[in-house]
């Protein structure tokens, strides 16, 4: 097939959009990390079903659990923001609204993730 790209553009392989590779790659990296993390979190939370306040708090305060919880929160909201971005790009057809909804989703994900991380840190420090 005849190609009209320059040699450099062909080597970079980014096509006409010029970006998107990092979105695609980060979505997959976080997906791979989330497989063991979510299996751990699902089982970990299931074991806390109906747990007393002190017991549940002790579980979060455990350094290994606290570390994995924070990593899980970061991965979860990052992967979620990347995924919802694609859905918005596919179904919101007005440029301004598309930009605004993506900004809103990403901001909301950041805020809720930071709140979750702060809560874990507060519990770990026993505050």
């Amino acid at each position: 097939m005849r190609r009209y790209e320059t040699a450099e553009s062909r080597a970079r392989g980014l096509g006409s959009a010029k970006n998107g590779f990092h979105h695609w790659w980060h979505q997959r990296l976080t997906a791979v990390l989330l497989v063991p993390l979510m299996l751990w979190l699902g089982m970990g939370l299931a074991l806390q079903a109906g747990a007393e306040f002190e017991a549940a708090r002790d579980w979060v305060a455990n350094p290994i659990n606290a570390t994995l919880l924070i990593v899980a929160i970061v991965m979860l909201f990052y992967h979620g923001a990347l995924g919802v971005q694609v859905v918005i790009e596919d179904y919101v057809h007005t440029a301004g609204l598309k930009w605004l909804s993506n900004l809103a989703v990403q901001f909301a994900c950041l805020v809720v993730a930071v709140a979750g991380i702060l809560a874990v840190i507060q519990i770990t420090l026993g505050g």
Partner: protein, 131 residues
Amino acid sequence: MTDSNRPLSPHLTIYRPQLTSLLSVLHRGTGVFITLAAVLLTAWVAALAAGPDYYGLLLALLGHWLGQLVLLGITFSLAYHLCNGIRHLVWDTGRALELQGVYRSGYAVLVASVVLTGAVWGTAYTAAGGL
């Protein structure tokens, strides 16, 4: 590019529903739902940080049958998105893309999601001291 009246390519509603498309839509749907549900994870940790009163309130909400139904929906969504996500990762390597493989893995993902959901809820009810 945005608000034009250009004709669109055939969309979801024009096709006869089939396993492949249903699972694809379900992957997106569960993905968006899990992102929303992740707020509940933050709420749980925040309630633990805030004190016994807040934690008790959250447990009461989650213990209500409606709360349990939402939790079941979250568990299945997460199990399905995780299993089907692995299916997508395998596809990304160029494997199992022929029609028979796509159908086989589709049914396998559905069975695995139900088994995983059952395992988590079995664990939860055992931990909570039975039904």
